[in-house]
Amino acid sequence: MADTLGSFEQAVLLAILRLGDNAYGRAVLNEVQARLEREVAAGAVHATLGRLERKGLIASRLGPGTPIRAGKARRFYRIRPIGLRALNEARETVETLWRGLEWPLKGHA
């Protein structure tokens, strides 16, 4: 599974993990932007959320809206066990690739 998880997908999954019960679309967008330290298109985050849900890595449910969003529903996301496994495998793959190398790399700039 890990080889199919892109870096942006990992960023979105980790944002959901960090946000816990408050992981709805806009919160995920802001968390991803904060972690990546750049502006991210809302469409990119929503497309990734949709793809991860189709892959079965996350699940979603609709929650109540708030006045600032004109009462429109919020879609809350949570990671499923298979999503956690995919994240663990992705991390393990990266660590395996780096094992034996000193970080930060020197002399190759």
Partner: protein, 199 residues
């Protein structure tokens, strides 16, 4: 926070046309919340409206992108065939590429109206797909021309309609997208309504 600030109504209408019906409330709510809570206070009305429109364009391009890429690749393949495997009789190639193009633009309109539940989504998505496809075809043709401009290739290009056709015909396809997308959209919206009734 400016809770009364409102993004352009037409942009929200476009957003409705390019999203799945089931996704519209949550996505437009997220955009509105971000617009009111963070973007509007920081950038003012014009800046916030520009941000909102940019987000909607992003959603629109993503919704028609795959169809546009398929359309563009189909045109590039046809162009490459005409340039590198020239023929005297273009009728078979023309028929195949015409039907592939018609099929793709109809399918784009159908699919888009099916998922949004609105017939108006069909022409919008098909025109977008045709525009993206046209851009890909122009970039593809320019790229091929950069690497292959020997006498033989230039003769083949002249024999298949010339360079002007390569660079102007894609623009006409945007009008085709309007017509075919309207037909596909009507079919998609009708199928959506019928199935929903049956379910």
């Amino acid at each position: 926070m400016t809770i009364t600030a409102t993004p352009p109504g037409w942009a929200e209408d476009v957003l409705r046309l390019v999203l799945r019906r089931a996704d519209f409330d949550a996505v437009s709510g997220d955009l509105l919340e971000e617009y009111r809570d963070r973007i509007h206070p920081a950038r003012g009305q014009t800046g916030a409206d520009f941000w909102y429109v940019r987000q909607v364009i992003g959603f629109a391009i993503r919704s028609a992108g795959v169809w546009g890429a398929l359309f563009g690749v189909a045109i590039v393949v046809r162009t490459a065939l005409d340039w590198f495997a020239p023929t005297q009789d273009f009728s078979v190639r023309s028929a195949i590429s015409t039907y592939v193009g018609i099929g793709l633009l109809l399918a784009t309109g159908f699919w888009s109206a099916w998922r949004s539940g609105s017939m108006r989504s069909g022409p919008l998505s098909s025109m977008l797909a045709a525009s993206i496809g046209s851009l890909i075809s122009v970039i593809g043709a320019t790229g091929m021309l950069v690497f292959f401009h020997d006498a033989r290739t230039m003769n083949a290009i002249a024999g298949s309609g010339g360079l002007s056709e390569v660079f102007t015909m894609p623009l006409a396809m945007i009008v085709d997208g309007l017509v075919l997308g309207t037909i596909g959209g009507a079919l998609g919206a009708a199928a959506n309504a019928k199935l929903r009734l049956d379910l």
